[in-house]
């Protein structure tokens, strides 16, 4: 039977089959280019997804679920003959319960839209990947997204109470619930977080919400060396201060933001540290001063404190767009930006950052460094000339060495972007280097238990 005909009987006009209309689905925010999908489904009910999954299961049609298309590792692009299932039409916020600290939302809701809505209640949903303007609830759950505020609130996994999921065989299940505590068998909710659409398709999420902080302020500190940046943040945390946000940017990133956003930075600064402190109105000034004093111990070029919301928003937005802004700094049209994403314990940062810089020099690459420094998360944005094979080989070697730095310092090859296509080999390497090969077998078994025919996001995360 013609599969397009079969799918169209389920989806009607919610199925896209024209070549031109399918082209934009080949791309996400990574540098990977996917294949033209066999079709794109835009279902609007979980039941429709169930029927589609049943059909795909019976006919061994591989599927990939798509949220906001902001993935950085190629996890949401289609490979050969895949059906894309877009969750975009699941865009409703269904319930908000501040008294019970949860909201029920559909997976296509954008994170910023959710927070704009929650603001009316005086609450917010903390996970804020830099792409939060475009990233969706479902996509960020599937990659266990982190973000700037992870410094204080942790990543997405800390904020998901329950899920409604369509399994690969079409069955609809709910996991977890509306309560903040629950210990009833295996935690299937946690299993779905970060699964990159390999175990099922999320159709609803019960997310934990939190009161908006009463007051916040920001310290900007500029440094000449990367070790001072790392040492400053380690000392800050060692003294018991947990910043709301702790971001660092290097000179290339600062320059790109001055080009694209018109921001100004001191000429002699090689690195910038952005520290946000959350507190009460009464004590915010004191806590900002206290934190600034700690930063000053490491001889910054300059520091400044601001509580001006507009100025803070400007820098926050610029930082969130840093990855895209970096393209303005490339030296040729064939250069792409490959974003590396490792994590180490915060105390290991000074050494990990220094070693990363050494590797940049070793491979003669241009790499912009920025990241969520408080939780030890470094993003190495590599300018990769896809038209130059030698250059691409050096990029690959750097990626390998950069990942090894994370492993050596007790961290991980993927902090918050997931695995997708990009880190399949690095995931294997991490498990081998830590003598954990058996974990890969357990993961394969889990995947097989959910999806015996291997139709869910085939070719991503690890090969079955």
């Amino acid at each position: 039977m013609d599969h397009l005909k079969g799918l169209s009987q389920i989806l009607g006009s919610n199925l896209i089959i024209e070549r031109e209309q399918k082209i934009p689905y080949m791309t996400d925010a990574s540098y990977y280019q996917g294949d033209l999908p066999m079709a794109v489904a835009l279902p609007d009910t979980p039941e429709q997804i169930s029927k589609v999954m049943r059909y795909c299961q019976e006919n061994s049609i591989p599927v990939v679920a798509r949220g906001g298309g902001t993935a950085l590792t190629g996890s949401s692009i289609p490979l050969k003959d895949m059906l894309v299932i877009s969750l975009a039409r699941f865009d409703r916020i269904l319930e908000v319960h501040p008294e019970d600290r949860y909201a029920i939302v559909e997976p296509g809701v954008k994170l910023d839209s959710l927070n704009q809505h929650l603001e009316k209640f005086g609450f917010f949903y903390p996970p804020d990947p830099a792409s939060s303007i475009a990233a969706t609830v479902g996509g960020s759950i599937s990659t266990n997204a982190g973000g700037l505020r992870a410094s204080m609130y942790g990543t997405t996994k800390n904020w998901i109470l329950g899920l409604e999921v369509v399994l690969p065989d079409g069955n609809l299940i709910t996991t977890g619930g509306k309560v903040l505590k629950r210990t009833a068998g295996y935690d299937l909710t946690a299993l779905m977080v970060g699964a990159e659409g390999t175990l099922g398709i999320i159709t609803k999420a019960i997310v934990k919400i939190w009161p908006i902080v009463e007051s916040k302020g920001r310290i900007l500190a500029y440094y000449d060396s990367i070790e001072k940046v790392g040492s400053s943040i380690s000392e800050l945390k060692g003294k018991g201060i947990t910043p709301l946000i702790a971001e660092f940017l290097d000179k290339i990133t600062m320059h790109s933001l001055s080009q694209t956003r018109g921001l100004k930075f001191p000429e002699d600064a090689n690195y910038m540290l952005i520290i946000d402190i959350a507190s009460t109105k009464e004590s915010i000034g004191r806590e900002l001063n206290q934190a600034e004093e700690i930063l000053k111990k490491f001889y910054p070029i300059s520091t400044e404190i601001t509580t001006d919301q507009e100025a803070m928003d400007r820098i926050y937005e610029a930082r969130k767009g840093a990855y895209s802004s970096l393209l303005s700094e490339r030296s040729s049209m064939s250069e792409r930006v490959v974003i590396g994403d490792i994590v180490v314990p915060a105390s290991e940062l000074p050494n990990a950052l220094r070693e990363s810089e050494e590797k940049v020099k070793k491979y003669s690459l241009t790499v912009a460094l920025f990241g969520h420094i408080s939780d030890g998360n470094i993003h190495a944005n590599i300018y990769a000339d896809i038209a130059d094979q030698d250059h691409m080989n050096r990029v690959e070697s750097f990626q390998h060495d950069f990942a090894m730095i994370a492993i050596r310092h007790g961290g991980s090859v993927s902090a918050e972007h997931g695995v997708g296509l990009e880190k399949k080999e690095l995931l294997k390497m991490e498990l081998e280097e830590t003598n954990n090969q058996h974990v890969m077998e357990i993961m394969r078994s889990i995947r097989k238990a959910f999806d015996p025919n291997g139709i869910m996001n085939r070719g991503k995360m690890f090969d079955q």
């Binding site: 031109e20 934009p24 704009q116 475009a134 694209t260 840093a322 895209s324 802004s325």
Partner: protein, 409 residues
């Protein structure tokens, strides 16, 4: 030159890293049911495809992706890399209009451009556009020219035109459009139905604008039946060569009238004359103002009525945000803005009305709901297109009418 357009397109799309930020503010994406090629990022991706197809890598049927763009430029203000997906659409439409990518011409767009070239009015009804001025007197000696650009007047015909297209069906409508594009005179044979209630409303708004100017001591000339349409459609639909010829003709008419200062009444004409004409008409030296620039604020009685204001894209999202309407409203009422305002204002959907009426309807309903959710007693618009599309309840008023109601006795 078409090669310049390809170059311009390449330099815009190559800046894009495909982060998708633009999709979050693109009004057509949700209105199109999240069909990505009718969203900002999708259009940039299709721009890249267009370049590839033009280099001989296969055929491409891409017209709807670009013609569905509202040209609002909301995407530009959230793009971290400074990519303007609206500009990508406009350049691509210009490439299509210039036959740079075969088989993609939009018959309706072409018809509108050709009829406008022929009659200096998109529907060939220029002589019917001066009715609102009946009983009023122009000052032929004034160097101030009131220039309506026929924009308010045309609003009475859009619904009728869409109904006619619906009745004809897609195939017949395409065929008729192609025929009229070849023989523009045929447009006069079409049973163009005027919506009398809209016509009366628009005439009344124009009368109120004239009243506001007079109350502020401005004496102006008006070209009445001889007033040409400014050419907005020709430019927006990408017929750049035709637009150049057309704009020169309009500029000559305006200059020959003895005008030194052009008083525009709508954002599209204001933006086109102020920002686009100087690029296409050599030596274009007429001063261009909006009528609110000339209004004497002391002629209004102040008040605290709760209103919300829908900022037109061509005022808020172009090079220099034009905030005079908002400032004027703030001086006479208590204004609350919807969440999407200022540099993030949201389009009313109007620019798609003739080519994708259903898309327009969904965008405008969405925007109307947002404006109504502010809880304000009135929704004030400052553009005939915005008014026509958002006029879904008695609380929607045009700024000219609202200000006239606030004139001191």
């Amino acid at each position: 030159m078409i090669s310049d357009l390809f170059e311009e397109l390449e330099s815009e799309v190559e800046k894009c890293i495909s982060c998708g930020f633009c999709e979050s503010v693109c009004p057509t994406l949700p209105a199109a049911g999240y069909d990505l090629w009718k969203g900002a990022r999708g259009r940039v991706i299709m721009g890249k495809e267009l370049l590839s197809a033009a280099k001989g890598n296969g055929t491409l049927n891409v017209s709807d992706s670009f013609y569905s763009c509202l040209d609002c430029h909301a995407c530009l203000y959230v793009c971290p890399a400074g990519v303007n997906a609206g500009k990508v659409s406009h350049i691509s439409k210009s490439i299509i209009a210039g036959d740079g990518i075969p088989g993609n011409q939009n018959p309706l767009a072409r018809m509108i451009a050709m009829v406008t070239m022929h009659y200096m009015n998109p529907l060939g009804i220029g002589e019917k556009c001066a009715g609102w001025f009946t009983g009023m007197k122009a000052d032929p000696d004034s160097t101030d020219l009131l220039y309506t650009g026929n924009m308010y007047q045309l609003m009475a015909y859009t619904d009728g035109m869409n109904r006619m297209r619906e009745r004809m069906g897609k195939g017949m409508s395409k065929m008729m459009s192609s025929l009229i594009a070849r023989f523009p005179g045929l447009i006069r044979l079409a049973p163009m139905k005027k919506d009398e209630a809209t016509a009366l409303k628009m005439d009344s708004t124009l009368s109120n604008i004239a009243l506001l100017l007079r109350k502020s001591g401005i004496s102006f000339n008006y070209l009445a039946e001889d007033e040409p349409y400014p050419g907005t459609f020709i430019y927006d639909l990408g017929y750049l060569d035709l637009f150049e010829q057309y704009a020169r003709k309009v500029a000559k008419i305006l200059r020959d009238s003895g005008a030194r200062r052009i008083i525009t009444v709508d954002p599209h004409t204001y933006d086109l004359l102020k920002n686009t004409y100087p690029k296409y008409v050599e030596g274009f030296d007429l001063e261009v103002v909006h009528y609110l620039d000339l209004i004497d604020g002391s002629s209004f009685s102040s008040g605290s009525e709760s209103i919300t204001y829908h900022e037109p894209c061509h005022f808020s999202l172009r090079q220099d945000a034009y905030n005079r309407p908002l400032e004027t409203l703030r001086s006479v009422a208590s204004v609350s803005l919807p969440p999407r305002s200022g540099r993030r204002t949201k389009c009313c959907g109007g620019p798609d009305e003739l080519i994708f009426p259903e898309l327009t309807h969904r965008v405008s309903q969405n925007r109307y709901d947002e404006l109504r959710d502010t809880g304000a007693g009135k929704i004030v618009t400052a553009c005939p297109i915005c008014f026509s599309n958002l006029n879904k309840g008695p609380e929607v008023v045009e700024i000219g009418d609202y200000l006239a109601s606030r004139l001191k006795n």
